[in-house]
């Protein structure tokens, strides 16, 4: 009798394990519509052999960060509150990602976005996504329309390349490393996303610059620790910064470069031709304006004291080019031949 009870318990445990393991209610595989596939076949650029090899290398080096696809849920219907309401729970020195794009001026607190990594927003009918990777310290804004007539939201694949967020798009299920901003898998392979400016600053500075700003509410549709000590990786506010200042990495990058501390913040700039430049952020803070070469062009990066951020433009054409904060190890891993201004 005793042994029968034990066998029964063993059976319950094994059945429970199997049930829990296969009870995943996460994103179902995406069925790519034939017209999307056809359109992408026409839109996707021809990729050089070198670039194809590079994309394959990246794809092979993608590893699971732990969560399954959409295990880190993107925020798809953001709700906003006023600055006054946010003041009740947000500290003035808390990091926010600010956007001021097509009439929407909004701040997205890092302590919320760290749990979601992607916020999909519709601005005047246009799909845009604010993306943030905590492990590489990169916040980048992408436009959802990446081919004629194809516009998509993005989700978190659960995989990482060089510790960087690997996004997938919900129309074609192609995979896009955030820092690269380019699809590395079919059917969108080779297509580069258009970007828009995202400002990495503090709540206090953003609010002073944009008093009428909206701010992402804690009402995200999910339950997470959005409190002061909620960031699971560390803190940008406390003295003990955890992962953000430690010289250790959670995942081994493809390439390492010891010219700087792995977590040193650089301002990363890259263009459609694959030319890259990194500027030590602290140097920019000191010098206020830095001019540097990006291939045949000159990039002018101007520091904005009010926001503790910067703007970059191509000098010859006076056109905007995206520049964003990145931890050195991740920038160097994606772009081993990068120029570095330090």
């Amino acid at each position: 009798m005793g042994n029968q009870v034990i066998y029964f318990f063993l059976f319950v445990i094994i059945a429970g394990v199997v049930f829990f393991y296969f009870s995943n209610r996460n994103a179902a595989p995406i069925e790519v519509a034939p017209e999307v596939r056809k359109q992408l076949k026409e839109s996707a650029p021809l990729i050089s052999q070198d670039r194809d090899v590079y994309f394959s290398l990246l794809e092979k080096s993608a590893i699971s960060g732990g969560p399954p696809k959409d295990g880190i849920p993107s925020i798809d219907e953001p709700i906003y509150t006023s600055a006054e309401e946010a003041d009740e729970w947000l500290l003035s020195q808390d990091i926010v990602f600010g956007i001021d794009y097509k009439g929407l001026t909004a701040a997205y607190p890092q302590r919320i976005v760290v749990w979601h990594e992607i916020v999909n927003v519709k601005i005047g009918g246009e799909d845009v996504s604010l993306t943030y990777c905590p492990l590489t310290g990169t916040a980048i804004g992408f436009k959802g329309e990446y081919a004629s007539g194809i516009s998509s939201e993005f989700g978190v694949s659960g995989k990482l390349i060089n510790s960087n967020l690997l996004m997938y798009d919900r129309k074609s299920d192609s995979y896009w490393p955030q820092i690269l901003g380019t699809a590395i898998t079919d059917p969108a392979k080779g297509i580069r996303l258009e970007e828009f400016p995202v400002v990495w600053t503090t709540w206090e500075k953003w609010k002073q610059a944009h008093p009428d700003t909206l701010i992402l509410s804690q009402d995200t549709g999910f339950f997470r620790n959005y409190g002061e000590n909620g960031d699971p990786y560390g803190s940008y506010v406390r003295e003990n910064r955890g992962y953000y200042s430690s010289d250790r990495l959670l995942f081994e990058p493809i390439h390492t470069d010891s010219r700087l501390h792995p977590k040193e913040v650089v301002v990363g700039i890259r263009d459609a031709e694959g030319r890259t430049l990194a500027i030590l952020k602290n140097k920019l803070r000191t010098e206020k304006i830095i001019e540097a070469s990006l291939g045949d062009s000159t990039v002018v990066v101007t520091y904005d004291q009010e926001l503790d951020f910067y703007k970059a433009r191509i000098k010859e054409t006076d056109t905007w080019i995206n520049a964003f904060d990145a931890m050195w190890f991740s920038w160097a891993a994606f772009y081993p031949n990068t120029e570095l201004v330090q």
């Binding site: 699971s64 960060g65 804690q218």
Partner: protein, 186 residues
């Protein structure tokens, strides 16, 4: 074996041991996976006591955040204490808590009543660790940094099976202890 276990638990001091270990473990498990948190300044809308359940709770119930770690369907607020309600996680925490509690009670009995000393205490302790770490890979990665690990694809795969590994180790340890006691008392 089962009747032996029940006869041990029949004594107040042993079932009390099991109950205390159970509660402590469940609290540690929920805190380690950040389902039980203490925080201030969470917003003016949080009263001293409140329960909030998501409208789409059925959709969230079995959605996985990581292997054996499920979405919360709601939250319970008690002052600065917040408990994120996830039915499967609570079930897992309770299962592990019961196994650890029983192991603790049986070990205490062996030690006190039979003066049995051995390595089963160590096995039981080892059995508890993977379960606590199970939520750490995705959700509390600073813990991994503290331990000094670098995650590789293999380790991440192994990590995914920490909860069943814990259940197995604890079950084996309990069985082993009960067999020892039975042999000794025959």
């Amino acid at each position: 074996m089962v009747s032996l276990l029940f006869s041990i638990l029949g004594e107040r001091r042993y079932w009390l041991t099991a109950a205390i270990i159970f509660f402590v473990y469940v609290i540690v498990y929920l805190a380690a996976t950040q389902f039980l948190i203490f925080t201030q300044r969470m917003g003016a809308t949080d009263g001293f006591f409140a329960i909030k359940i998501a409208e789409n709770w059925q959709e969230l119930m079995f959605r996985q955040r990581a292997p054996f770690l499920f979405e919360s369907i709601g939250a319970m607020y008690l002052g600065g204490l917040k408990l994120f309600i996830s039915v499967p996680n609570m079930f897992l925490a309770a299962t592990l808590g019961i196994l650890i509690g029983l192991n603790g009670a049986v070990s205490y009995y062996s030690f006190r009543a039979l003066s049995l000393r051995g390595s089963q205490g160590l096995v039981q302790l080892i059995g508890t660790v993977p379960a606590i770490l199970s939520g750490a890979a995705c959700c509390v990665p600073t813990l991994i940094l503290v331990i000094g690990l670098q995650l590789t694809a293999t380790l991440a795969t192994v990590w995914a099976f920490f909860v069943p590994l814990s259940v197995f180790l604890l079950f084996a340890a309990l069985w082993r202890s009960l067999r020892k006691i039975k042999k000794r008392t025959l």
